[in-house]
Symmetry: C2
Subunit: 119 residues, 2 copies
């Protein structure tokens, strides 16, 4: 079962903002033992979520963890990202897609903020 | 010089999302030694940034650190938040307002993502 990670971000009209996500994804890939790590965007940037998921499956992914890179559980986290993942599940019924807790729900966020303040 | 922290988030139409920020702010306040810790929203929620800053000053703040609670350096971080802080500086020339690096620029973000994946 080839494991994969898809980091899902909002997407921006500023390509430099999308590039921040791409750089972060490469940093993640360097830290993870799984070979299939990529990012996708809910809107405004490419690849979109369905395209990014298709690509991971085409590269052999059979067990995909989707990490919503969002700070709060707004409409995007609650409704929009799950809807896109459901499309992927229907297109690839033999592949598991698990949506991890969104970033902002992590209890360690307070520590990251404190670290940001001490910079 | 009374120190203060203003956590600035985007703001959402979903009040539950704004409440996530308020809870986080209380968690931060419990961890910090400064007494003046509050949050404000760029749009869609109250208090807005100028109101939140005014309130801190009214409560005695003279040295305010503003933390942009954003993941990427999009227009909000680069232009919109600084413009609001500039309004506060002009209204309170005797108060220092320092904008800290936005959350997503922290090198430890990779570690937080890895922690989110292992939950």
């Amino acid at each position: 079962m080839a494991e994969a990670l898809l980091l899902v971000a909002h997407g921006s009209r500023r390509e430099s903002s999308n590039d921040e996500i791409r750089v972060l994804t490469r940093q993640l890939a360097a830290r993870l033992e799984i070979g299939l790590v990529d990012c996708a965007f809910l809107e405004l940037a490419q690849p979109d979520i369905v395209s990014g998921g298709h690509d991971l499956v085409a590269r052999g992914a059979r067990n995909v963890t989707v990490l919503p890179y969002f700070l709060v559980a707004g409409r995007h986290v609650v409704t929009d990202v799950p809807a896109e993942i459901e499309r992927l599940r229907q297109a690839h019924p033999d592949v598991s897609f698990r949506i991890a807790d969104y970033l902002g729900s992590n209890d360690a966020m307070v520590d990251l903020i404190l670290a940001s303040l001490s910079k």
